[in-house]
């Protein structure tokens, strides 16, 4: 179904490209959304953009690093795409500093972003008072998804807090299912750690570690509890988890092989693509000992400095389209996220999204995501330590604390 349209659009792009200035509304977009739910969501953008009179040229490259390698190199090399995907946060700081990105102030003013987007998310795209990216959605990163069927068979119930979690996990384990489906790759190890950090350490702990690099917190008892809880989770994952992709892990829950999966709400896209509905085949919750504790990030699209006025026009049209109310809702439904605009009608969203909207409207329940707090270099350095701690049972918690503390202190 896509293929003909895509071919046409490609042909159009080429034809228009050859014709020069007539290529006004063509936008080449680099992104790494290639899994089922993700590509369905991207299609919303492409279709809406087409409706608005534009032509979407899709450059999907599997794997965030691969896509960013291509995008950044092309931007530096003077042949940028029209738009490129980033995670909300510090990933594009230096592109701004080096004057490689165009601002979207005009669109922001026209759509009154200040009034309709939560401050934490809006701040993430603002640099020196200018908006440099389109915050298309909000993702919660620390959701627990569980299979209602598996839970029923095992006699487990939705966990209420972290102690209860282990009770439920034990029940699922006893019933012969994989208690916790896990795609054991470095970034998901970190995400799971962050889930524990937010849930056990609370907002202060989370921002203390990633944002303030607070040595006292990291060396204190709460952090130790976080580390121990994290390691305890390892007893509930299956031996084949190392190297598995996150969507394959979600599939284990979808197929009723595993009880639970800790992941951002984008995992809902996989459930949706498999025809499952939140509240029916699967349930969702966020666990925090202090209540709230919603780790909030999102996706943005940034626009490299246009080479000519036509590209600028296409960028403006694309930004406007992405932030249009109906696009926002449709996109969020497919992607599993919630709209970044709070002024849209969210009643069509599923119950997990409804829960999320509540967190988003309550500032005290939010924690800014890892990416918003720390630069990739620091995130990466700590991620390696988290990964080593998860995988190497001989590493003591003391050693872990010491290593995290020194990484926080020494990363440039």
């Amino acid at each position: 179904m896509f293929s003909r349209k895509y071919l046409l659009s490609c042909a159009a792009a080429l034809a228009l490209g050859a014709a020069g200035p007539a290529a006004a509304q063509t936008a080449e977009v680099i992104h790494w959304w290639t899994s089922g739910g993700e590509s369905a969501a991207v299609k919303v953008f492409a279709d809406q953009f087409a409706k608005a009179g534009g032509t979407w040229v899709d450059t999907a490259i599997a794997g965030g690093p691969n896509a960013r390698t291509a995008a950044i190199n092309r931007t530096i090399g003077g042949n940028p795409p029209t738009a490129m995907q980033f995670n909300t946060g510090k990933q594009f700081d230096e592109l701004v500093e080096n004057n490689l990105l165009a601002d979207v102030d005009a669109v922001a003013a026209k759509q009154n972003w200040k009034g309709i987007i939560p401050p934490a998310i809006l701040d993430a795209v603002m640099r020196n008072g200018h908006a440099y990216a389109v915050p298309i959605n909000i993702h919660g990163q620390n959701w627990f998804f569980y299979s209602t069927a598996v839970f029923a068979k095992a006699g487990a119930t939705e966990p209420k807090n972290w102690d209860d979690l282990f009770v439920q996990l034990d029940r699922v384990k006893a019933a012969g299912f994989i208690p916790l489906a896990f795609g054991d790759q470095k970034n998901w190890e970190r995400n799971m750690f962050n889930t524990v950090l937010a849930g056990v350490g609370g907002a202060e702990g989370f921002t203390g570690m990633w944002g303030k690099r607070d040595q006292a917190f990291v060396k204190g008892p709460v952090f130790r509890k976080v580390a121990e809880t994290y390691r305890r989770l390892k007893g509930y994952v299956d031996p084949a988890s190392p190297g598995r992709n996150w969507n394959d892990s979600a599939a284990l829950v979808i197929q009723g092989k595993a009880g639970m999966h800790i992941m951002g709400d984008w995992a809902k896209g996989e459930f949706t693509a498999a025809g499952q509905t939140a509240g029916k085949e699967y349930g969702c919750t966020v666990l925090s000992n202090g209540g709230g504790g919603y780790v909030m990030g999102g996706d943005v699209f940034a626009f490299p400095k246009p080479k000519n006025a036509d590209v600028a026009k296409a960028q403006a049209l694309l930004a406007t389209t992405m932030m249009a109310p109906d696009t926002q809702i449709m996109f969020a439904q497919k992607k599993g996220s919630i709209p970044s605009r709070q002024d849209v009608d969210s009643s069509t969203l599923d119950i997990c999204a409804q829960k999320a909207m509540k967190f988003v409207s309550d500032k005290s329940a939010q924690i800014p995501a890892n990416e918003l707090l720390s630069p990739p270099a620091l995130t990466g350095a700590v991620e390696d330590i988290i990964s080593a701690y998860w995988n190497d049972n001989s590493m003591t918690t003391d050693a872990f604390v010491a290593k995290v503390s020194s990484a926080l202190a020494s990363t440039l």
Binding site: F2, S39, A46, T59, A60, A62, R74, N247
Partner: protein, 288 residues
């Protein structure tokens, strides 16, 4: 054995045994890929890795070739195939041409700076490509070569240079100097000697060079991704997209079919010209 043909039959049995077991080890991954690609998904899920397909089907191949999705495009990896061919032919030609001329000049003419140049090339043979990626992007943008077919061809020429120069230099170094002298007395110059005498003599080593470059360039992923531009993405980029993204459940049969399809060209080159490869090496290709 040519040398002692009357070896004991027990020893022969052992030789064949070892060779067959080794051959099985070498064929195992290919076998798994082929049988999996011929199965339907239910069978992949239940059956074991090594079993033959009960109901062989080429559906996965068709899908991989023409309709597997990456992002919004669902054209399979066929588009990439033609891009790869488009990149392959000029890149192989250019890299071998530059390598052959350089090797010839270094070994038979030894002009000024030859030793230094050769030293640099030898050292670079050990350096991970990634080190050059970023500066190269900058340089290319400076000369306007980024994201273009000429750009990717130049990149492959640049990174083929050390190996190509090395094997041609070693080959030409084995040619008697008197041949050069004779040609010079006959009045032939640098290019004439190269074109009419040296190149025709270098056929075995050119075959080796072609095999090495075809496989290297065809299998390249990172340069294609960074330098080729989206219109020219090679097959490996699409393979990565197909294999590393899933539409819901992972379709191993399609992944495997796509993998084999991508590997087909270098595989064919090896199976067809394997005997030339050994002969080319024997002709002095790689003497260290």
């Amino acid at each position: 054995m040519r040398k002692h043909a009357k070896a004991f039959s027990a020893a022969r049995l052992g030789i064949y045994g070892f060779l067959i077991i080794s051959a099985l080890f070498f064929l195992l991954p290919l076998y798994v890929m082929i049988v999996t690609s011929l199965k339907g998904m239910p069978e992949v899920r239940q059956g074991n890795l090594l079993s033959l397909p009960m109901a062989p089907t080429i559906a996965a191949w068709v899908k991989a070739w023409s309709s597997a999705c990456t992002g919004l495009s669902c054209n399979g990896i066929s588009v990439g195939f033609f891009n790869s061919v488009k990149i392959l032919l000029p890149s192989v030609t250019a890299s071998i041409a530059v390598g052959a001329v350089t090797g010839y000049a270094l070994s038979l003419w030894r002009p000024r700076g030859a030793a230094l140049l050769f030293g640099i090339l030898m050292a670079v043979a050990f350096v991970p490509y990634q080190v050059f990626l970023f500066p190269l992007v900058r340089m290319f943008s400076f000369v306007g070569l980024n994201s273009s077919l000429p750009g990717i061809i130049v990149v492959h020429t640049i990174f083929g240079l050390p190996t190509m120069t090395l094997i041609f230099r070693n080959y030409f170094a084995g040619i008697p100097l008197e041949l050069m002298k004779a040609a010079r007395v006959d009045g032939a110059g640098f290019w004439r000697i190269f074109g009419t005498i040296m190149l025709p003599m270098a056929v075995p080593i050119i075959v080796v060079a072609i095999i090495l470059q075809v496989t290297g360039i065809w299998n390249d992923f990172i340069f294609g991704l960074v330098f080729a531009g989206r219109e020219n993405f090679p097959m490996t980029v699409q393979l990565n997209n197909v294999v590393n993204s899933t539409q819901g459940e992972r379709e191993y049969n399609v992944d495997m079919a796509a993998t084999i399809l991508t590997a087909l060209v270098p595989l064919a080159v090896y199976f067809i010209s394997g005997r030339w490869f050994v002969r080319g090496i024997a002709a002095g290709a790689v003497k260290g």
